[in-house]
Amino acid sequence: MEGYTFTLLIPLILFATFLLIGLAGGKLKPIISGITGVVSLSVVSIISYITAYDYFFVNGKVDGVFGKIIVYDAEWLRFTDSLFIKMGILLDPISVMMLVVISTVSLMVHIYSLGYMHNEGGFSRYYSFLSLFTFAMMGLVISTNIFQTYIFWELVGVSSYLLIGFYYNRPSAVAAAKKAFIVTRFADLGFLIGILLLSSLTGTFDFVELTNVNGSAITAGSSVLFMGLSSMTWALILVFIGCAGKSAMFPLHIWLPDAMEGPTPVSALIHAATMVVAGVYLVARLFPLYALSAPVALEMIAYVGAFTSMFAAIIACTQTDIKRVLAFSTISQIGIMMVGLGVSGYAAETGLGFTASMFHLFTHAMFKALLFLGAGAVIHAVHTNEISGMGGLRKYLPVTHITFLVACLAISGIPPFSGFFSKDEILVAVKEKDSFLFYFESIVSGLSAFYMFRLYFGIFWNRNTTYEHTPHEAGMSMKIPLIILAILAAVTGFIPFSEFVTSDGIPFISHIHWDIAIPATIVGLIGITAAFIFYKKESDLSDKAAASLGGFYNTVHKKFYIDEIYIFVTKKIIFNMVSTPVAWFDRNVVDGTMNGIASVTNFVSEKIKRFQSGQLQQYAFVMVTGMIIIIALIFYFLKN
């Protein structure tokens, strides 16, 4: 379709920006690089919005179906007559949606960074990496085939490696960058094997062919069984391993909390809104395959997602570094998206989970980016990441306070904020499929309300910490993105998502299911209340008691008593008995296993090194032995 040729500009502009800032960066004034980045991102955003408008409201719908539009597809590499790799642009509801998400969040981050990073060295380097990352991410979502996805997938990995390690004089940042890269590479291995298997089974890389429900790809490889599962299922499970790596699913989530060593705006862009949802996106992209030819894999995704969401939510309650709380919260929310996909069926109303998951991806991108940027503003003001070093900041940072509150309400699923709608849809979809998962996820959602408000109260209320320098609100460049994102986080819930993004492209109308929405909201409120009780007061208690001495004494006393019980139950039992062991397990067993693999390899390496003694006789000896073994083997095979 020629109408969309202009979308080619999106990757081209971003790549050109990267080259321009990257190559000329040293010569430019830092602020010029920054402005260049912002301007080019603005242009890209406008193009994305035009595309989205055009696709969803003007040209996209043909006979009531949102189809896949191949804007451009050039053959790039030929394997066989039927198997070749192309490079191109594919527009369909989810890729258009992702264009909007990525450009919006990236633009906000670009603007925000003008203020946030202006004191840091390497400003130009930072902006060139940001452009590279956005380019790679855009390339990933508009891929027409799984191979193009893989290439950009790797490029996303490399650019995020560069960004996490941006503060390269901090050893912890370097270690984190390395860890992120290696863990995701490890997962990509599964992905690559999955691609090889998939292409070997279906003879195509093309998404349109792969996901054509009437095509041959859907049934390919279903007859060949290996360990009880069809080879198609295996291929899709392997692809999912890649997704799990990028999207930080258990047990490959270990890189994400460490990746918080990167600059905070980077965390907002990469670790909240874009890169980490790439895995969700890819599963959604291949959804017809998962749904129709590998329901087992899909079920597995649901359970992995559910487990991860619970696991991460529990850990989030124990963290004291505000960025780490947000990191675990992200892991948990992505888990919820995976659950949404996992329980979804294909086509029309049964595909509610798919729609809900994409919806949640969309709203989550907005409010989580907002949370990270807000956290950045807080860190910028108080120069620490530790929650214990904060408190009472609402007076100093009013804008940040309000926007952060909006985001917290959104993530907790309080109407009318965006998170409410998307989470509601997911819960509805889950309920239809599996009531156990439904209760499970409801608890997760309560927990998320709890830890978010724990954070909120801890930062903005709680005790009146005295600060060495009076914290002050950051400049306009940081405030504006916060405000815009807050508005988006508040209102995007009203988008009737099911009329645009559905599993099979046919829009349907979904309603809010109040029978589920109300309990869910109540669960959220309980979480908030719990946080309120523990963290708004805590050190306030004595002050208040003094102020309202007399008639209120009893009440205060009684409350104190309740507090005691709560503290005993939660701190002593829940925290010590559940959360702490889980966190310990995460830190020592999961991390330890991964590190263990590395250190064992190193150890073996050091040991075998001695084998290489430098003695010629020994070399010759080994060679002759090898030769004899080979000849003996040949005889053995000849006999058989």
Partner: protein
Amino acid sequence: MKFDLETVLFFSLAVMAIGSAIMMITRKSPITSALYLILNFFTVSGLYLLLKAQFIAIIQVLVYMGAIMVLFLFVIMLLNLQDEKILKEKFTYRKITAVLLSIFLFCLLSFTIYFGFSGKFTAMSDKAVEIGTAEFLGSELFTNFSFPFELASFLLLAAIVGAVVLAKKKFE
């Protein structure tokens, strides 16, 4: 198997060849070793003769026994090896394994040759005498095999240049 002069000669030469080879590697004195090597070359050239390869047999005598062995002896004498202990080596476990492996390799290869060639060659070709002459060899080298022959000259040239570079070139 016919019991004629050729068979007798073959077996006696073969036994001598193996015997001299064993003697050569077990002697302590390098000079004695070298002399056994000469004997070994001589018996091998006798085997060539039995195979009607006159030219090779003569070349064997000229080049190996003549030129190369003289060089060997020169080197040994110039090095003036007085203390033969330095040539004496201990019997280590590695050597034992090496011997066992060699025997195993020998078995494998003889097995191959025995079964691979069995029944393949029954009698020597009538033209054997003709083929073994210098004349025939020369005409082959300069007609059919002129290409590899020329290439061999490249090989020798490269080796000479290399040797000269490594040994003679002045290094500032």
